[in-house]
Symmetry: C2
Subunit: 391 residues, 2 copies
């Protein structure tokens, strides 16, 4: 009787309503029944994206949709700017390299945020920069960049702004239109609460103008093909879509609409706040910034004398809690607790409890209950402030 | 109480065992639990592929995996040969065009098969041809090409042979190694009996040698990245895989192993034979060839005076049977009955019955029961010949 708690920043837990929607018999994708589902999904994606722009969907992981942004916006030899503060920011650079772009690369330490002033300086110095690639929620460190400030900078230039919001969309708010984010990339397996296999991009008019001229070779990830399918009276995709994942997404977006965007973001803010309070309460040190924006994933320094791999195996095998480790230069130095998507107070309390007990099991001095107490206080304060039941 | 029968050549019906496997809670993809599942899936894919080659998997539709073959084997300006006898053969040409290849294009009428001698002639005339792209089971027409003969031709040249077996693998036999097919592309939503969203390629040593030199830009679909993941002690994918579809595939491959390859192919041959007998028995004309190789999909000419769209809507709305129409030049002229994957005699009989009754409803002269009788005779003959219960 091992009860499992998936607490990684993707894949994330999937609600039973979504699992059962995915288990329904498969329908054909060139039918009215599917078009109606697809149209509803597109409408609800726009709601989560807070956009009037087209949202395109691809059968792929999030990386596929990132690649689609590179090849649909750029031609070989184009100047682009990549501002990276972690592993997924570096992926923009790798993609730019793979497609022969000339990338100016701003690199920040893992745990730091992108500085919008640096982007401004680069755009002023090089008016040929066509696209700025940034990460909204940097899953590898827990940093959530200030997309509103970055959008306000790029708005004044010809460059198109692309945000990897794969672990951000639906947990750390992004106002696509109001903040002038031309392209927002998202994935299914984070706050959208379905399994991996679907990815999305929203495309602004400014981005479409660039896409119509871009000459990178492309076929499967061609945005123009996808737009043609969307524009039909019975909207469809260029290629066979993952219909069962789409049925799951339809159910998940229904849950999001029911909760409402403001409640959704509030829940994530409170979960992040409670997790950080708990981590500090049990005497550990945060790696991700101690700010409300960090609402998707909380990164924690592994205390001296504790082996990170051993910690994660122990907490999984003894308490059923699956955490993520560090990537790149912070591998072995941090653990990450994901809380984007189908999570609430109960998951946070379980993860913190399991972490306290695991530290004790591994011989690290810890006062049992100190973390959970700190988390509970955050939840209680929230109930008092909002008059609502807890998140 | 509408009972639905999905009889299209992709997506196809999904067994309940697979649907329930997909509805299990999501597991993380960087765990031993997932690696074990992935290793088992890879082993069982090799069994279905009849190969010792690596089989790579991608979160994408089948077209994504086709694109992966083009970009991993070719460099801009390369000479290639495309032999096409339908819509999906034409896709190889579109892909070659998108990536700046110089494609010699053999075009056959829809309903015709590729002639291996034509391939031989082209390869003799142009020794620079690096890759030959063909379609194994041409879903748009029901033609199944003679891959054994084509493999025997290409074997004598330096060119690599790529087969789109998206609707063939697991229904129309392909002996990847014995027939010398260097790259076999497959999709999840056909005879592999799971929903769309996963695609596969097998890669021979001859193909790997080419892939290591190919210079087309690529990232998400890079075979070398995928191979690196496969080669690890705990095999994994380069990017987040669609774990729920993989869990479904694991269950589906378990069913295939239980049935056994020879029984699997026999079942498909008999279903194809019964469907063709029924079509002829009810006085209609086959569009796909009347041969046992055509075991994935049966294409039928729409009789004079019957409107194809009306027929398909009627049979769907009145009898719950979803058929496919024609594509490209045969749009409106044929209907297609899919029977690759989770199908047996019961589905064939239901589809034929519904087709007979639909024709009657639409005022086309038909003798009710003539088609089902012809199909039943095929099943009965098979039972007599094999001593087995019916397929």
């Amino acid at each position: 009787m091992i009860k499992k708690f998936l607490m990684t920043p993707g894949p994330t837990q999937v609600p039973p309503q979504v699992l059962s929607a995915m288990a329904r018999p498969v329908i054909h994708h060139r039918t009215s029944e599917y078009s109606e589902l697809f149209a509803r999904v597109n409408e609800n994606l726009k709601y989560v994206y807070q956009t009037g722009n087209d949202v395109l969907s691809f059968a792929s992981s999030g990386t596929g949709a990132m690649e689609s942004a590179v090849i649909n916006l750029c031609s070989p030899g184009d100047d682009v700017l990549v501002a990276a503060c972690g592993k997924f920011g570096e992926r923009w650079r790798d993609l730019a390299d793979a497609y022969g772009l000339v990338a100016e690369f701003h690199e920040y330490e893992y745990g730091e945020a992108v500085n919008p002033d640096d982007i401004n300086r680069s755009l002023e110095a090089n008016p040929h920069i066509k696209v700025v690639f940034v990460t909204h929620s940097e899953t590898s460190s827990g940093v959530v960049n200030d997309m509103q400030a970055i959008g306000a900078v790029v708005e004044d230039f010809d460059a198109v702004l692309v945000s990897d919001s794969i672990s951000g969309l639906g947990s750390a708010e992004i106002k696509t239109d109001e903040w002038m984010i031309d392209v927002v990339v998202a994935g299914s397996q984070k706050a959208l609460m379905i399994p991996p296999g679907l990815a999305f991009v929203s495309v602004s008019d400014k981005a479409w103008a660039l896409a119509e001229k871009a000459r990178s070779p492309r076929f499967y990830f061609d945005w123009l093909k996808a737009r043609k399918g969307l524009a039909q009276a019975k909207p469809t995709t260029a290629f066979t879509p993952p219909v069962s994942l789409m049925a799951g997404l339809d159910a998940a977006l229904g849950l999001i609409r029911e909760e409402g965007l403001q409640a959704l973001f509030h829940r994530h803010i409170i979960m992040g706040r409670a997790t950080r309070a708990a981590i500090k309460g049990m005497g550990l040190t945060l790696f991700s910034p101690d700010e409300d924006r960090s609402s998707s994933v909380t990164a924690v320094r592994v205390p001296e004398g504790v082996d990170e791999a051993r910690l994660r195996i122990h907490i999984r095998d003894w308490y059923g809690v699956q955490l993520a480790g560090g990537q790149g230069p912070v591998k072995g130095r941090i653990i990450r607790i994901g809380h984007c998507g189908y999570y609430n107070y109960s998951d946070i309390i379980v993860a913190i409890t399991a972490l306290e007990m695991t530290l004790m099991d591994l011989g690290h001095p810890v006062q049992l209950g100190a973390g959970t107490q700190a988390a509970e206080k955050v939840f209680a304060e929230d109930i008092e402030a909002t008059g609502d039941e807890t998140v």
